[in-house]
């Protein structure tokens, strides 16, 4: 494989580069760099973080496919990976507009593919997930498209998970057989574009080459059978800390609001189409919960088992999306009864794991569950339908498509510290800063 051969190239002494013959400005900071070197690389060497996904040091010309590294170059938006350093180049990385555009593109990838991080083998080693964290993506502004995509189990050694592919082109350019043939290629066009794999050529790869291909993939789209879980979750590449440690820490510190004497507030919580995992997480502050009860009172909530609202609440925490008519009604009631409504966890934000059914027509799901399943008891071949039963929706809807949601706390489940810090901030303006470890969860 090419990247193995090209490795020595990477080991150019960093100091030689530092003595560059060009002076450029990145966010006002003057930097010396070698004329013609790659901008993403130069920024990285100087401790400036430009998010990137498809960029890979020795693919030349760069791919320019993912567009995540878009910056303002001499006043115009352009992907940084496509830029060769020129003297007097002026680069602006962290302007509000550019930050938002880059974030939008990552959100677009989450909306376009079917990314269920908590159920993904690559979680913690995934560059897309990592970029999401680094940019503070908590909710995709775009509607999730839930396009039905296949998982290709045909290759002898690999599994291609088309739901997770971001079409970065890395594997297309880099994974070649010994006789120089391509193992991957983009196929189709438009929104049907997929990365196809050649089964014959794939069989020619050595185990090492196959593993390198899996690592090359920035997401969990290329998996090698039996090798995808080699390292446990929690100890993986992006699990521990942010690459932009200092900056992020600085950003995360929000001026503490003036603390007033704590007035007692009323909270309601509910689990809709969720697993109660977010509620379990809420309880995970352990003894802290006793302190909490001094300043809040729970109204309708599974925590105290109050079934009906008895008064207007200050804040409502909603876990889960809407998968049936009852969920919709409950959510609408919550909107009426709570002044602030917060969506807690992935399911309430965009559907989460229950939305795995969104790619499949409802009819097929129900038939599979009630009629054709191996555990179906003979003679009981019906799909339950009764006027007293909630009606199942055609797909799982995120809460903000039904009612207006004021705040979103992402995670599967969100870290307990994160949930309560956010709630305290919303209710009393308490100091709010989230550590990387508290923001890292799935």
């Amino acid at each position: 494989m090419k990247n193995l051969k090209a490795k020595p190239k990477k080991k150019q002494p960093a100091k030689a580069k530092a003595k560059g013959d060009a002076t450029i400005k990145i966010d006002g900071k003057e930097i010396k760099a070698r004329e013609g070197s790659n901008l993403v690389q130069v920024a990285r060497e100087n401790g400036i973080f430009i998010p990137s996904l498809c960029y890979y040091e020795h693919i030349d010309p760069p791919l320019g496919t993912c567009r995540v590294c878009i910056c303002e170059i001499d006043g115009k938006p352009a992907p940084a990976c496509m830029q060769k350093v020129k003297n007097n180049m002026e680069v602006r990385v962290n302007t509000p507009e550019m930050e938002d555009t880059r974030k939008a593109i990552v959100e677009m990838m989450f909306a376009e593919g079917n990314h269920f991080c908590p159920a993904c083998e690559k979680s913690g080693n995934c560059s897309l997930q990592h970029m999401g964290y680094e940019m503070g993506v908590s909710i995709s502004r775009f509607p999730h498209l839930f396009k039905d995509r296949l998982i290709d189990f045909h290759p002898k050694r690999m599994i291609i998970e088309h739901n997770r592919c971001v079409k970065c082109h890395r594997c297309v350019e880099e994974v070649l057989t010994q006789d120089g043939k391509r193992v991957f290629s983009l196929c189709n066009r438009g929104n049907e574009t997929v990365v196809g794999i050649d089964y014959e050529e794939e069989a020619k790869l050595t185990q090492e080459e196959a593993l390198a291909a899996m690592q090359l993939c920035p997401t969990g789209a290329i998996l090698v059978r039996g090798q995808s879980l080699a390292k446990p979750f929690g100890d993986r590449r992006f699990d521990k800390e942010s690459v932009q440690k200092e900056e992020r820490a600085k950003k995360a510190v929000v001026e503490a609001a003036t603390k007033a004497a704590k007035e007692k507030k009323v909270i309601a919580t509910i689990s809709l189409a969720g697993c109660f995992g977010c509620h379990m997480s809420m309880l995970d502050i352990d003894l802290g919960f006793i302190d909490l009860l001094e300043v809040v009172e729970f109204n309708k909530s599974p925590i105290n088992d109050i079934k009906k609202f008895t008064r207007q609440c200050d804040i409502g925490l909603v876990e889960g999306g809407c998968c049936n008519s009852e969920n919709v009604e409950t959510l609408r009631e919550f909107r009426k009864k709570c002044d602030i409504l917060v969506a807690v966890g992935e399911c309430s934000i965009w559907g989460g794991l229950p939305a795995m059914r969104n790619m499949i027509p409802l009819e097929e799901c129900l038939e599979e569950a009630y009629l054709n399943s191996i555990t179906t008891v003979a003679g009981e071949h019906i799909v339950p339908y009764h006027e007293d039963l909630p009606k199942i929706l055609d797909k799982v809807y995120p809460c903000n498509e039904i009612v207006k949601i004021d705040y979103f706390i992402p995670g599967c489940p969100p870290n307990p510290e994160h949930i309560w810090k956010a709630v305290k901030n919303l209710l009393w303006g308490d100091h709010y800063s989230i550590l990387y470890s508290e923001f890292k969860y799935d």
Binding site: P61, P62, L63, G64, T65, R67, V68, I70, P77, P79, M82, T101, A104, I105, M108, M109, A111, E112, R141, P143, L145, V166, K167, E173, G180, K181, R182, V183, F184, S185, L186, C187, N188, R189, G190, N191, T193, G196, D198, E200, E201, S325, K336, P361, L362, L366, I382, V383, Y385, K391, I392, L393, D394, K395, Y397, N400, E401, I402, V403, K404
Partner: protein, 576 residues
């Protein structure tokens, strides 16, 4: 012939033709063909699949003995597309996207086939059928079933040239004598030719308006050889058909334009990239090329100029809008997926096979040939001082006289609307879906480089047309035709389409329009090539131009509009 180009992918200029041979032989490309092709070119099968699946006229499954491609552009939609579509399904027994059980007919939808002045139109085995209606479809299909050859059933495509500037002011549509332009080259140095084109201020007529003389001059300065001239005859922008008429009426003029460019930049080979939708013109163009060789206007010492050898060949496309972008076209000619290249080099530096290449639109080349024939002065005497000359406009939509209008630059929108007898015009789309939309408030504005620059399409829609239907058609078009390489274009168009569908359902809120603007802007600034950058232009412009159409009754409340009955519709099926 193989050469290293920019990408690590090798070029296979023969590949597209090879695939066409297989496609024509069996009506589709079989697995064994892929095997043979893979051996011959030394590339993996998946790479071939990647190329084949990029172009919508290549099939990997049988596509019927008679393959019908029905145009689904917006003009066709308004002129009865749905009825014609149903008629095809009824008469053939096949469904769209499929082949009937006997394998006789395959029905497919396709984007604009360059016949917007005679819609609804379809291609059957690449022969044109125009002005279709239910009755005509029945007759055509009956004829085919009886064994009448397609060639006999198909229509003669009308040129519909409606307006030409009076007297000597016409540049394009005036009498044409083969060789009048090329023979003038004898006695001029290449530099003089470039100077003459520069003086005329001719600029690219494909829509980008790059000065033609400058492009030629820069290419001439390149040291690398050989150099190539590529004629871009892939006008895929829906609503555009000017190049069709230019090539159909004066195929020789296009060749002369190419030879002129070849002489100016020092190229020996010209390639005319013809879109597959125009396959019915292929014979005519090839015969004209032969005639030019016989007249010694091409080949060795072309047009009697010592040392000027110039050959022209034809390259057939295979169905893809984005290939009309010049670098995508170069990739396609090299037997690759027609994805636009990253902007590291201009084609004049490294184009076809990595060599300096001039890519010009059909109209630009015709214009250049006329300038050499008539002199820059005559060209400069027409139009306005900043945009001299005439422009060929394809007019279609709700007007009584759709067709070709050669207008002088500076003409007012109002004048053109009057000339084409537009019916109660309300919404006008300039330069196709990637262009811009205007309303009658702009009727005093002029078509010229400084005001309304127009790539060639002028689609008029009356007050009775649904603007949302127009925009949905455009967005679906981009969703299909995006090359799929970069995220903002591939996903963005898909997302915008969903948004428009939501609006169509009556679930729109003010924030949805804000979203369209912001998301459209992200696509504009972050996309990789012109397609993605331009795809949201019309949508955003429409919100500004027709605000009354997008007015939302209800303000932003706490509950969203959500149709619970519709969401539970599917489940209700299980009520026994």
């Amino acid at each position: 012939m193989e050469a290293e180009t920019l990408s690590t992918q090798r070029a296979h200029p023969e590949l597209l033709n090879c695939l066409w041979e297989y496609q024509n032989q069996h009506g589709y490309i079989r697995d064994e063909d892929i095997g043979q092709c893979s051996e011959r070119f030394g590339i993996s099968k998946i790479q071939l699949e990647g190329v084949i699946s990029f172009y919508h006229f290549f099939h990997r499954r049988p596509a019927g003995q008679f393959t019908v491609y029905l145009n689904n552009s917006i003009v066709s939609e308004f002129k009865g597309f749905q009825r014609v579509r149903e008629a095809f399904e009824r008469e053939t027994g096949a469904r769209f996207g499929e082949v009937d059980p006997s394998g006789l007919f395959g029905l497919f939808e396709t984007s604009c086939i360059g016949l917007s002045d005679q819609e609804p139109a379809a291609l059957i085995n690449f022969h044109p059928f125009t002005n279709l209606n239910t009755l005509k479809v029945r007759q055509v299909i009956a004829g085919l079933k009886q064994g009448v050859p397609v060639e006999e059933l198909c229509d003669e495509v009308e040129d519909n040239i409606r307006h030409v500037p009076p007297g000597k002011r016409a540049v394009f549509f005036r009498e044409y004598y083969p060789g009048n332009a090329i023979t003038k080259l004898n006695g001029m140095t290449p530099e003089e030719v470039i100077e003459e084109i520069n003086r005329s201020k001719l600029s690219g007529r494909g829509g980008a308006f790059f000065p033609t003389g400058l492009k030629w001059g820069l290419c001439r300065q390149q040291a690398a050889t050989p150099k190539y001239i590529v004629c871009n005859a892939d006008e895929g922008e829906p609503g555009t058909f000017k190049d069709r008429v230019l090539m159909n009426t004066m195929p020789g003029l296009v060749l002369e334009g190419m030879a002129t460019a070849g002489y100016a930049v020092g190229a020996r080979e010209g390639i005319l990239y013809l879109r597959a939708e125009y396959m019915w013109m292929k014979d005519k163009l090839e015969k004209e090329i032969e005639r030019f060789y016989r007249m010694e206007l091409l080949g060795k010492n072309a047009a009697g100029i010592d040392g000027f050898d110039f050959d022209i060949r034809l390259q057939l496309g295979a169905g893809s809008y984005v290939v009309g972008e010049e670098t995508a076209m170069l990739n396609s000619m090299e037997g690759k997926r027609g994805e636009a290249r990253v902007k590291q080099y201009y084609p004049i530096e490294r184009g076809f096979l990595g060599k300096p290449t001039v890519v010009n639109n059909v109209e630009t080349l015709c214009g250049a040939a006329r300038i050499i024939e008539l002199g820059a002065d005559q060209f400069l005497a027409t139009g306005t001082s900043t945009s001299p000359g005439t422009k060929v406009i394809s007019v279609s939509g709700d007007c009584h006289q759709p067709g070709i209008y050669e207008i002088e630059y500076g003409v007012k929108v109002e004048e053109l609307l009057k000339a084409c007898h537009a019916d109660d015009p309300h919404y006008i789309q300039l330069s196709g879906p990637s262009g811009e939309c205007i309303s009658l408030a702009d009727k005093e504005r002029r078509l010229s480089k400084d005001d309304l620059s127009c790539g060639g399409a002028f689609m008029v829609f009356s007050k009775h047309r649904d603007i949302l239907q127009i925009l949905l058609n455009f967005t679906s078009f981009f969703k299909e035709e995006s090359c799929g390489v970069c995220t903002p274009c591939r996903a963005g168009n898909f997302i915008l389409q969903r948004k428009l569908e939501k609006i169509k359902l009556g679930l729109a809120q003010q924030s949805d329009y804000t979203d369209i603007r912001q998301w459209g802007h992200i696509m504009q600034s972050a996309s990789r090539c012109g397609l993605g950058k331009a795809a949201s232009n019309t949508l955003i412009k429409a919100l500004d131009t027709f605000p009354e159409f997008f007015e939302v009754q209800q303000g932003e409340g706490l509950t969203r509009k959500f149709d619970l009955n519709k969401a539970t519709e599917e489940y209700e099926k299980f009520k026994s």
